[in-house]
């Protein structure tokens, strides 16, 4: 697991897997921030949530 050059069953090395995962986490954070903003706007401007 510590060999950075080792290619695992999916064809990725550990550093590639970490890079892919960091992109996915960043995308999830951006999506979360935008959707949270959208939900706040909807809650303020519509009868949603009463």
């Amino acid at each position: 697991m510590s060999d950075p050059e080792k290619v695992f069953p999916t064809g990725l090395t550990l550093s590639e897997a970490e890079e892919l995962h960091s992109q996915l986490v960043d995308g999830t954070r951006i999506f979360g921030v935008i959707s949270a903003l959208a939900h706040v706007l909807v809650a303020v401007t519509t009868p949603w949530l009463g």
């Binding site: 697991m1 695992f8 069953p9 999916t10 064809g11 990725l12 550990l14 590639e16 897997a17 970490e18 892919l20 995962h21 960091s22 996915l24 986490v25 999506f31 959707s35 519509t46 009868p47 949603w48």
Partner: protein, 107 residues
């Protein structure tokens, strides 16, 4: 980064569409549920004031109760309700016939 090693065993060509698809299907179904169970989204899309349909429906249900001006029930000699004539305030009438009362018998 925690969990990043899952991409060593889960192929990204499978895992990424699965993850993004789950997010898309989940959020879409929640929004469909909101649009089909509320009236204010349709109010907005139709250019009406949001929540006005709810208020109109509440007013209409009150009006319907008030319009049932008279109900006359016809009864048999035994006192069972046979039929009823409903007369609205605007003069329209409706007649309702009730089914017979079924009694159980051991004979």
């Amino acid at each position: 980064m925690i969990n990043s090693r899952m991409w060593l065993v889960v192929n990204p060509t499978v895992g990424l569409p699965l993850f993004l698809g789950a997010v898309a299907v989940g959020s879409f179904s929640v929004h469909v549920a909101i649009t089909t169970n509320t009236t204010w989204v349709n109010d907005f899309l139709s250019g009406r004031e949001m929540g006005s349909t709810d208020a109109k429906m509440a007013a209409a249900s009150t009006l319907d109760t008030a319009q049932a001006a008279e109900v006359v029930i016809d009864r048999t000699a035994a006192g069972e309700a046979e039929s009823a004539v409903i007369t609205l305030e605007d003069g329209r009438t409706a007649k309702a016939y009730f089914s017979e009362v079924k009694t159980a018998s051991l004979q």
